[in-house]
Symmetry: none
Subunit: 190 residues, 4 copies
């Protein structure tokens, strides 16, 4: 049977994310999530098979949303550098709108539990990004290096910057964003 109340499901996921960001995976229990979401602990088991399922589902959905927000406006007609630039700005806009998503994704990504997520489930959504890199390399605009290296100089530095500003509660200034993009682009351009 299909669950009735979609808002309840969302409340559970959202509460889990907030608690995990605030107190950590280790101190976030089902009953606390239930209380925060305003439902019974038992209700959570109607929407998710168990705690791990809840957490990994949350991670996959967050990653999917992030990928969509960042990549949806990227298309093959754009110059590679402009595509990267757009991607960069999308990422920034997203982090401003949903800082929680970044913080959660980073925590989860660095915990062993991430291994219980099928990488394909996440990777699929980043497919346009992979194609962008391939195009940049074929066209000679990007260094001819493994994709994960490109990754390491595009996503992680910005993610790190974003996290830093979220934590400090300070906004990211335009010129810092500009400088950061220059660094990233210098790092990977041919």
């Amino acid at each position: 049977m299909r669950p009735k109340d979609e808002t309840k499901r969302e409340a559970i996921l959202q509460s889990a994310m907030v608690l995990i960001n605030t107190y950590g995976l280790a101190h976030t229990s089902i009953s606390k999530i239930a209380k925060e979401a305003g439902v019974s602990p038992a209700t959570i088991y109607i929407y998710f098979a168990n705690k791990e399922d809840l957490l990994t589902t949350l991670y996959v959905e967050v990653r999917r949303e992030m990928a969509g927000a960042i990549l949806d406006s990227i298309d093959e007609s754009l110059e590679v550098v402009d595509a990267f630039r757009l991607l960069w700005e999308n990422l920034l806009a997203y982090y401003l709108a949903y800082p929680d998503h970044f913080v959660f994704a980073e925590q989860f990504h660095n915990a062993p539990i991430v291994d219980s997520v099928d990488p394909a489930e996440v990777d699929t959504h980043f497919e346009p990004y992979v194609r962008l890199i391939e195009r940049g390399q074929t066209q000679g605009q990007l260094k001819n290096i493994p994709a994960n290296l490109i990754n390491a100089f595009v996503f992680y530095p910005l993610t790190e910057l974003a996290k830093h500003h979220v934590k400090e509660g300070t906004p990211m200034e335009d010129d810092e964003l500009e400088a950061a993009f220059d660094c990233a682009w210098d790092a990977i351009r041919a």
Copy 2:
């Protein structure tokens, strides 16, 4: 009276790190650490005030060791680019020798518990690195951008690469290292 057994303290810290890397902060309990270390749970409380103290102590010590291994051979007589290059190689050597340290530090760094560590306790040990950046900027070899930006393009990408290879169990090839350094240097050089 019996003197404190320093090897016991080390066994506790080491066991904690291994378990946290394997099962995560959330699934690493005092009694599991004790069992892994071959001591009684009560013994842990002779060496550490409580679980948080144990974890933060572990983090600070790991960071200190990392800083030492990476920075000790850096001195002011080196050209800036050579200093960065040396630092890069030190980092790689360290990660090959102590991959656990990287994995643990990343997990801890991305969990909320990191906020209970006094940043100064960690930052002090990276002071030589900060001075290196300043020198590079005064001498015009580095971009004139905030230190945390430089950071974001030097440490995090390599850390990320290192983590990736640790997880996959694959070695990092010389040419990948070379390519990665080129990216990093291109990112930050003036």
Copy 3:
């Protein structure tokens, strides 16, 4: 959902009282209470916030029951001496029926934990007794002394006698009861 099982709550309170009377406050743990009551330790926390809440609740309920049993039949139409005599007999009957209550109340009353009970919660139920003393003093049948002094010569001696007989397992003979009442009345009468 399942409704709360009131018999379970009672079993917990009763088990706590029995164990405390037998082994003392210091040696009565939640898990022992749970075992004695035939429930899980966790179940106790459905009915009580924590151990202290369980103990103080037990004390207040015991005191309330004692007050009811002793004072309910006292009314203002009785002569003061007859009222005291009736109270005396009620007390005796109650101690014969529920010796555990006396023993527990005394142990609790003499332990520092009693300070965490709001005195008002207990005192309210002894209000008729306070009024009886006031009446006896206004009518000139009782000595004009503070209420706690009257108390000290009415309740505590009998309580002590009752405890003594409970402990020894001997019954209180009619003539001892008679003699005891005479002492008490001689102590407080004008």
Copy 4:
């Protein structure tokens, strides 16, 4: 071998009493007593066989001191009523000087652990008191009732009054003492 440092033994007993009066038997551990007394937990086991031995020893010594302070000045040349009056004043003086002793003795006396004390060890010291009662009864000044009844109207009421004033931190006024003695004497005199 005889323990060397008598002050250490006293410090342990005194610390135990203070902690038990403040936090209760249930929350007073050997290691807390040791810390309060400024010794090692292991040292306590040089002076006492185990925790129970420490506690019962403390109780017996407190009772002995109380008996001595109260009864030493009583001798057979005194009129019975004067003897009771003197005893009364001694008791008051003692409670003013050592309120802790009263509070501890009452707590211990009402806990099941008291059963592990040989009553004879305590009763011996109250022998003069028992003889006083016998004399009073033979001479016809006291009611002809069991000794424990006399007890119940002499010691417990005053003890209760004393405890009350200790807890409230208020002094006992002369006239209250006077009134209390009158009550007690009226209770037991022939």
